[in-house]
């Protein structure tokens, strides 16, 4: 068992200066050099906070432009002109008997009610980010990035007979395959920039690349062969493996950009303090977006049902029990502070995105960043009137700076609109019943 608090590799052992040879990912080492990108691409990012928020400190009183941001959203004030507050969105499929937190996690990006099981036969739906990934193909080195800021290892069933998979992961590459988030900043860094050093001699490096390719071919053949000899249940397991091999082979065939030298040093392990952890994850996400290593990302500041406590706020009550405040004002105040604390971390990400120029625009302009929770009132577990903000202008057609209140609409309608802005026309996702109107103007 390891109880190491923090590992840290100092800059000097990793970075050999900008533009110099840096550690390259396994895959990257095998791919041809940079192919120039034309127009700045559109990005899709989802940032999740669990356990609902105190809605009266979230929802602006006025609608349209020129609204006042309530306490929780105040940290986003500098970006009010880049921001939509979207009121009235719902995940009705998340409603039901006990198990609201697991269902909230499962429905959030899928619009599908997860299957109640503690066994391995988890099932929900493909999530919006992965719909985008599949449609866009592997245009970037990493199809998508899944990040988490809560590193606890979940043991056993998570919520009233629902599998932990629904709260561990919000990204699902198929109805039955979750994409669990990476919580260790060092591992994220290595995904972006690799854990193997390239050989300084290009001829040797080319041979190493060919060796790797031969290994992939070898296991692809062998896996296909083995699959044929097995029964149906086992086939399914080996098919997963085969799919993973093909996925990697496919990426090898693409012209991908070699990762530029990172502008941050390789992080140590998981930081002790929440704020530091989120900051690192935000920075890594920014690195990946800026270098166009990925265009689709999901970030969980904490897992649904999280009992993390935030001693930096001056109290140590765990989050989830607090949200069952039974209208106790003192507890409501504490939850509000946690909600605002999360929003402050998010504001840092947005601020940095706004500061990164891409031609005439900023990185934020060319993005759609959704921030919110799959529960609105954590006290009684409501799945409608969800707290949702979206920042950025997507492909340029979105007109933010407004609070739009809808008569109730499925949250998945927003996702259809976002996919549309990424030129991924999709008819339906989960319980969607159309696109969300008015985002591009009245």
């Amino acid at each position: 068992m390891k109880f190491v608090t923090r590992k840290h590799l100092p800059r000097r052992t990793v970075l050999r200066g900008l533009g110099a040879s840096v550690a390259l990912p396994f895959l990257d080492a095998m791919t041809p050099a940079l192919s120039a990108q034309a127009a700045a691409p559109v990005r899709m990012i989802f940032v999740y906070v669990p356990n609902g928020v105190i809605m009266r400190h979230w929802t602006p009183k006025q609608q349209g432009a020129g609204f006042d941001l309530p306490r929780i959203l105040e940290p986003l004030k500098p970006f009010q002109q880049d921001l939509f507050v979207l009121t009235g969105l719902a995940h009705r499929t998340g409603e039901g008997p006990a198990g609201d937190h697991a269902r909230a996690g499962g429905t959030y990006l899928t619009g599908v009610c997860p299957k109640r099981t503690t066994s391995a036969d988890v099932e929900v739906g493909i999530s919006v980010d992965q719909v985008a990934v599949q449609a866009l193909g592997n245009r970037t080195r990493l199809p998508s990035l899944e990040l988490g800021c809560e590193a606890t290892r979940m043991v056993g069933s998570c919520d009233a007979g629902y599998s932990c998979a629904y709260v561990n992961s919000m990204s699902w590459r198929s109805a039955t395959s979750p994409n669990p988030p990476e919580t260790n900043p060092r591992s994220v860094f290595e995904r972006l920039y690799g854990s193997l050093d390239p050989d300084p001699d290009p001829a040797v490096q080319a041979r190493l690349d060919a060796n790797r390719k031969s290994v992939l071919d070898f296991i692809q053949d062998r896996t296909a062969e083995l699959t044929r000899s097995l029964g149906a249940s086992d086939k399914r397991k080996l098919d997963e493996y085969l799919t993973a091999i093909r996925d990697i082979e496919k990426r090898l065939g693409k012209a991908e950009s070699r990762a530029a030298a990172p502008s941050m040093e390789k992080p140590g392990g998981v930081p002790f303090a929440f704020v530091e952890h989120v900051r690192l994850m935000n920075d890594l996400l920014l690195l990946a977006l800026e270098a166009d290593l990925t265009r689709v990302a999901t970030v969980m500041y904490a897992k649904e049902g999280s009992t993390r406590s935030y001693p930096e706020l001056g109290f140590s009550d765990p989050h989830h029990p607090l949200t069952h405040h039974r209208n106790n004002e003192e507890w409501i105040e504490k939850v509000t502070q946690i909600n605002r604390h999360h929003a402050s971390q998010f504001a840092y990400l947005i601020g940095r995105m706004k500061s990164i120029r891409e031609g005439d625009h900023t990185l934020l302009d060319r993005s759609m960043v959704v921030y919110g929770s799959s529960i609105s009132d954590g006290n009684v577990h409501t799945h409608h009137d969800l707290p949702v903000v979206m920042l950025g202008r997507g492909d340029g057609s979105l007109k933010p700076g407004r609070h739009l209140a809808f008569g109730e609409k499925p949250m998945a309608n927003l996702y259809l609109t976002m996919l549309d802005r990424m030129s991924v026309p999709v008819e339906k996702l989960g319980d969607s019943n159309g696109k969300l109107e008015h985002l591009s103007g009245l």
């Binding site: 590992k7 008997p97 391995a120 060796n211 031969s214 080996l238």
Partner: protein, 796 residues
Amino acid sequence: MVTLLGALAFLAQQPPFLTKHCTGCHAASQAAGGLNLDALNVPGEANQEQWTRIRRRVEAGEMPPKGRPRPASAEAAVFTAWIDKELGRFHRAPVTARRLNRVEYNNTVRDLLGVDLALADDFPQDDSAFGFDNIAEALTVSPLLLEKKLAAAERIARHALFGPDGKTQTVRFEVPVPRRMEATNPVKLTAPAYYSMADYDVTGLSQPGAFHLTHRFPADGEYVFRVIGAGNRPAASEPGEITFWIDGRQVQRFPVNEVVLSGFERRPDAWEIRAALTAGRHEITAAFPRQFEGLPPRFKGPNPSKLPQPPLPDPEKTFAGFGGIPVLPPDAPPGKVEERRLAIAKARDQLANPRWEGLAVTEVEITGPIRPRKGPSAESARLIPGCGQSGGRQSVDCARRTLSLLAGRAYRRPVTAAELDKLVSLFEGTAARGGSFEEGLTVALQGILVSPDFLFRVDNASRYALASRLSYFLWSTMPDDALMSKAGDDSLGRPAVLAGEARRLLADAKSQSFVENFVGQWLEIRRLESVQPDRDKFPDFDDYLRRSMAKETELFFTHVVKEDRSILDLIDGEYTFLNERLARHYGIPGVTGTEFRKVDLKGSRRGGILTHASVLTASSYATRTSPVLRGKWILENLLNAPPPPPPPNVPALDESGVGESLSLRAQLEQHRRNTVCASCHARMDPLGFSLENYDAVGSFRTHEGKVAIDPSGALPDGTQIASPDALKRVLRQNRAAFAACLTEKLLTYALGRGPERGDEETVKQIVRAAESSNYRFSDLIAAIVTSKPFLKRGER
């Protein structure tokens, strides 16, 4: 369509028992407990879990709940037999391809190649099902996992054939919030009782401020340790000391002369030592011994300092320019002059009564290896014998021999000639591109390490699969040569041989993995890694205590395994394993040092796993205990009778606002008035309340705040339990249920699948077989590995 037909069939056949006793609550309109019988098909593959739960609760007499008419026992028996019959109609095709999980991968690579880098620690977390992370169905493969495995295979293969890459790296470990003793003058220690100056750990190893780390060193070689500390010795103290330990042996000591080690303006002090270490895990410790000695007499510590107290510094000079003593012009108004006078008095007072902060390690940096030993380790060389290749055809033959040996061991079965050909062509392909002999072998070995034959073990009816099943069960790693040869000559299938091998494996040091993985998950000890007890309420909780807690439970279980004790020792064995840190936590005198040793608990307030701080902490909230969580823990993990999730439309019992156990008790009593809630809470709460004398980090207490702890309660059948001992007596009376629970968990872990139809009968047989020896551990294991599901895993 299938669903509709199923539902119709169900209507036609469903026994009157359901409408008479169940659908009053468990139907569409109400669906109490989330169970809607209207929507539930006849028992079958898709819903077997639900029906098994229904069956268990009816059989246990928990349903219908108290206050409803009881069914006659014959009536209940007919009903459960009907469920059995219906469930018997299908047979689920089991998943037999089991991917190695992270621990198994690390261990197998270690035993296959002598490479102990634990690279799987960076793989994505394995999902778990049925409480364990080695379940075939739940172990999936994502592209990310494969990407990491490809990179890991390359590093491992190089490491095995060329030795460590030899790069010097610096790793830094930072103590996020160092804990240390603090005192003000006049002496008032702001610290828990064990800091008592009259009786404290003079080695400093179990004191706050010490540093403990288990680190995996990548290669044999020399390493430089830089230890950085903070804190101070009060002025006029005699020099203190810092000691540095490796694997429990003191290797270096330095005097700590500086009065102040760090401050806002100061660079912290650091000590450096060099030591040669072998690759693998080592325990690194740094501590400040005898912190209470040599202090100025006013601290009233042992062996006070004989140094003269220096005269007080001039506060005006010391604080000039900061600290609030303003420099005034001659014509300053009287108000300002008075302000200055007060500030000087305050500063003087501060200087006369300095705050003392104990010494603490804040950071340790490890740099190395320096001048590492080149080439593969002795263990790697032993496992991968050379064969004197000399180019040309001979090289290929040599590679073929080496690969045949490695692949056979990696795949845990003989390899076919066709398989070998493909590996050899990986070798040849590399050679054709100009790679060396070793590079060719490296590439072929990479191929082996990402081959599905290595990463998965197809847990079918073959005799080699049986050998692997046994070794992954008890070792979490590949079979050794002895076990493989018993599979090879087909003697392993004989129950006596199999049971004998199981006992041999358990006696081997590698069974430590079984203890860590099985017990860590069964008793939820792994949860300890992520618990964060509230700092203000539990100021003496630190990482060292956390690790010591986990270690106690592991050692205790290891003792039961190694000494082949009865599993009932787990309930009430009157011994345990403690180091000084944990002994002080428990208030047990006479245990000194970092080493764990067996401690007799007769006459103490401890005994059995329920009184282990690990279990008590893992089943508590960060700020306080929860009788509900602890009761649920006991039902789930010791009696295999998990309470169902709370029903909908009932306000969740919210304990988190409760400040003292009195009102918590009252609130729970109110909660139990609701009959639906009562059916579970009447079982959970009294079990949990009986452990209330242990707080949320497992310390003993008689009061919470000003309220005396009341551990009393009564089980639904009227049995009074008012103490941990009474609880243990109840569990001992229910020893068959406990044995069945442990057996089912062991079976799940061993087979890598959830409970299936027929298992209940197997469990009964195993428990019966072990009863005659009073549930001796090895008898239980022998009965499990010779049971039908274990022998016939993978057969339809």
